[in-house]
Symmetry: C2
Subunit: 191 residues, 2 copies
DNA sequence: GGGAAATCCGGACTGTCAGTCCGGATAGCG
DNA sequence: CGCTATCCGGACTGACAGTCCGGATTTCCC
């Protein structure tokens, strides 16, 4: 194992350029403006480079998503309560939904594009499995009588980019998150 | 309005052939085997015919889905309780979820393909709006304190072809439906 | 500082697909 | 039986994901 030489400087530079170009295209046009040709051109890089770095379209978007959610992931595993370990499960759950909601609301277009690209194995994606595992644990701790695994899928299924855009009015960017939290509260039986 | 001459016999025949070919391709290969070229070829029809009838890929899949769910739609508006009007809202809700679940479980591949094709306006689709309206009403009647519109979206978001396949073990085809019903029961606060 | 070898780059190339278009065929009507 | 609205089919376009390899860079070691 290992032996892994460090990434070459030009490779690293290009990776940043590609990610940045992707963000830019996502921001300016819809998710459908993000063809890998365009990404490569805007990044000032060949198409092959994009694929070598990220494997495919899904990998590219996943990398971006991963970047946007790393902080939450760390807060959830190692951070202070109520996000991190230590707080009672229902509180942690609401805090987690708040964090995930904020990311989703801020990246709805990226979310849509990622869902579209993932196609077949959205549920195998490591990121998804992490969120699912975390939610699952919290739900099981709060309501051992329910099917926590299923409910975790159900809660996550609501984090759909299109739905979020559909439900977020201008001027109330956190409305979606509040709705999700209300739903979770109702599920926990304190509604 | 109207004046609409009846559909020509060859046109009707071809429409059936196309729908049938689509079913067949969905059944034998994954949803990705259903390119409109292939559908046309298998139906023994030109590609133009497929597009003239159904507008685009999404329209074709929607037509198939519509066909599979017409019965439920009618039962819900005009049928006998507990599906139709008359029964208490919570009962109607569970009956409705049972019916929708059955359709979804039996057409998971079609569902996935449709979601994939709809892309941008899944939430404008008349079929979606009907289910959403119905669910919304039942939820509002059962739990006026919650955000029924959002919960209806949340319940529907779980009807994802990939998720259903992911959660349906061989030998227990109704497991998904039961989980959804359990969730709805919990939301209604009788869990 | 210099040279060899691993690593990376770029863009031309392939195969596929959704969707368009129009000359020619056909059904339905009188 | 003939006329016209309607429909048919498949060639055509444009766009995209993903592959491939000759040539350029970088890094490592001396």
């Amino acid at each position: 194992m290992a032996g892994q030489r460090a990434e070459r400087a030009d490779a690293a530079r290009n990776r940043r350029a590609v990610l940045h170009a992707t963000e830019q295209l996502l921001a300016e046009g819809g998710g459908d403006r993000v063809s890998l040709d365009r990404v490569a051109t805007l990044a000032g890089v060949g198409k092959g480079t994009v694929f070598r770095r990220f494997g495919n379209r899904a990998g590219l978007l996943q990398a971006l998503l991963e970047e946007r959610s790393r902080e939450l992931r760390e807060a959830v595993t190692d951070g202070a309560p109520p996000l991190g370990p230590g707080a009672p499960a229902p509180e942690r759950l609401l805090a987690f939904l708040d964090g995930l909601g904020a990311i989703a609301e801020g990246n709805a277009v990226l979310l849509s594009a990622h869902e579209q690209a993932c196609a077949e194995d959205k549920y195998g994606d490591p990121s998804y499995r992490f969120w699912h595992g975390h939610l699952s644990g919290l739900l099981a701790a709060s309501r051992p009588d329910l099917d926590a695994g299923f409910l975790a899928h159900a809660l996550l299924s609501v984090f759909d980019g299109d739905l979020i855009r559909h439900l977020t009015p201008p001027g109330d960017p956190r409305r979606f998150t509040r709705s999700v939290q209300q739903m979770a509260t109702a599920l926990l039986g304190q509604g």
